[in-house]
């Protein structure tokens, strides 16, 4: 039986937005935590650590996110425990985000002039203090615009969780479309909802970038 697209269907799509946002938030927090270590490892003085971090980044940037989600989802079964699609999507997106954020932040850390590092160590700061008080505060300023930009990419990436069966916005769209068979309307609304989440962030990122460019001119 084909249902009409009514206010209820719209509300269903709207309530699915919270799952997209929740998944994005978890992946961002997880990805940022792991990503910070990746960025530190990538800029480390120890060659083996640097190589390992480079390999990690290239592995995640050189393979499709969808494959990464599949591998986490099916890999958990191989390891002998069951992950539901929600946990698999959160874990997969976290790993993926950590590689991208690690690479973005590596650039930010390296953008801090060499003299700052030398001055800090001349003052007797060891690595933890040097990073915490001298390098990272300066790197954060550079990091904000591209990180906000990455958030847009992350929100869009959560749509792939639909393929492994987690009911976020895109999956909700598929469900409503199967019941109402009005693909243009349903996926048009889904696209509009994503746009409403992503566009403000895109504008913010571009604005921050311009402001930063003016500040460093």
């Amino acid at each position: 039986m084909i249902r009409a697209f009514s206010y209820n269907e719209f509300l269903f799509l709207l309530s699915a937005v919270q799952w997209t946002l929740a998944l994005s938030a978890i992946a961002f927090v997880g990805g940022a935590t792991v990503g910070l270590f990746i960025a530190l490892a990538r800029t480390s003085d120890v060659k083996a650590v640097r190589l390992a971090a480079t390999g990690y980044i290239q592995l995640f940037q050189g393979t499709p996110l969808l494959m990464q989600l599949f591998l986490v989802f099916f890999g958990a079964t191989v390891m002998g425990f069951d992950l539901n699609p929600w946990a698999a999507a959160a874990l997969g997106l976290t790993l993926n985000a950590s590689a991208f954020l690690g690479e973005i932040w590596r650039g930010c850390i390296q953008s801090v002039p060499r003299g700052q590092w030398e001055a800090a160590s001349a003052l007797g700061l060891r690595y933890p203090g040097l990073m915490r008080y001298v390098i990272l505060p300066q790197a954060v300023k550079v990091a904000v615009p591209p990180t906000v930009g990455f958030l847009v990419q992350l929100i869009k990436s959560t749509s792939l969780a639909a393929i492994i069966g987690f009911t976020e916005l895109t999956r909700a769209g598929q469900i409503v479309n199967n019941a109402t068979f009005q693909p243009f309307l349903v996926f048009g609304i889904v696209a509009a909802l994503y746009f409403a989440m992503c566009w403000p962030l895109s504008l913010l990122s571009a604005r921050l970038e311009r402001r930063y460019a003016v500040a460093t001119r």
Binding site: L59, G62, T77, M79, G80, Q174, Q182, W199
Partner: protein, 224 residues
């Protein structure tokens, strides 16, 4: 971990996997070439078109860049038939990829075009080149050279994101993997091998792009 790995299913369907990989390559190269044409036209329109054209191109770029690729595929594959346009999954996948990469590449190429100084164009015209020749030799070639790294990494991202078109069962690599998986239930083995194939494809494409750069753009710009 009591799991025994069994790669028989993968080895048994190796030909089928290669066919899928070949379609991924074809779709990607097709979308790169068509997307590049779309992007050059849009970048031209955006830098020197009349206001309504610029507005439309901007809307296209913003909409594509702020919505997921998967939703774009669904709109094209499920949406267009309701308007009477029927598409095979492969064709719908190609169109979605062109639309998607076109928007990203437009912004990249626009940045390249804007990096060309006005004096270059004036000098070209003063030397008696026709406007089209100026565009070809003075504007677009150096512009592409400047943005080449950004453009080619966008193309590699496109190739990787083509795995998403498996959602409408275009017969590319990921779809093939899904089919083998549903017949043999050797999910992990298949996806790990397919992930390796994607990694190899990404490396092959970046080697190809480095080769193209050497052929087309490795001229000396400092000669006086």
């Amino acid at each position: 971990m009591n799991y025994t790995f069994n790669f028989d299913a993968v080895i048994g369907s190796w030909d089928y996997l290669l066919q899928g990989a070949w379609l991924t390559v074809q779709l990607s190269i097709g979308a790169m070439i068509l997307g590049l044409i779309v992007a050059i036209l849009c970048a031209l329109g955006k830098t020197s078109g009349p206001k309504p054209v610029r507005w439309i191109i901007n809307a296209y770029i913003e909409v594509v860049r702020n919505t997921p690729f998967l939703v774009q595929i669904f709109l094209i594959f499920f949406g267009l038939p309701t308007m009477g346009i029927r598409l095979s999954p492969d064709l719908a996948a190609l169109i979605a990829m062109v639309v998607n990469v076109g928007a990203y590449a437009t912004e990249i190429i626009r940045a390249g075009i804007e990096s060309i100084q006005k004096g270059q164009i004036e000098a070209g015209l003063a030397l008696g080149l026709k406007p089209l020749q100026v565009f070809r030799y003075v504007v677009i070639k150096p512009a592409l050279r400047t943005v080449y790294p950004a453009l080619t990494s966008q193309f590699i991202l496109l190739m990787l994101s083509s795995s998403v078109v498996s959602a409408i069962s275009a017969d590319e690599l990921t779809s093939v993997a899904n089919n083998i998986q549903s017949q043999t239930f050797r999910s992990f083995e298949i996806y790990i091998v397919v992930t390796g194939i994607y990694l190899a494809l990404a490396m092959a494409f970046s080697a190809l792009f480095a080769g193209i750069y050497k052929l087309a753009f490795a001229y000396d710009t400092d000669r006086r």
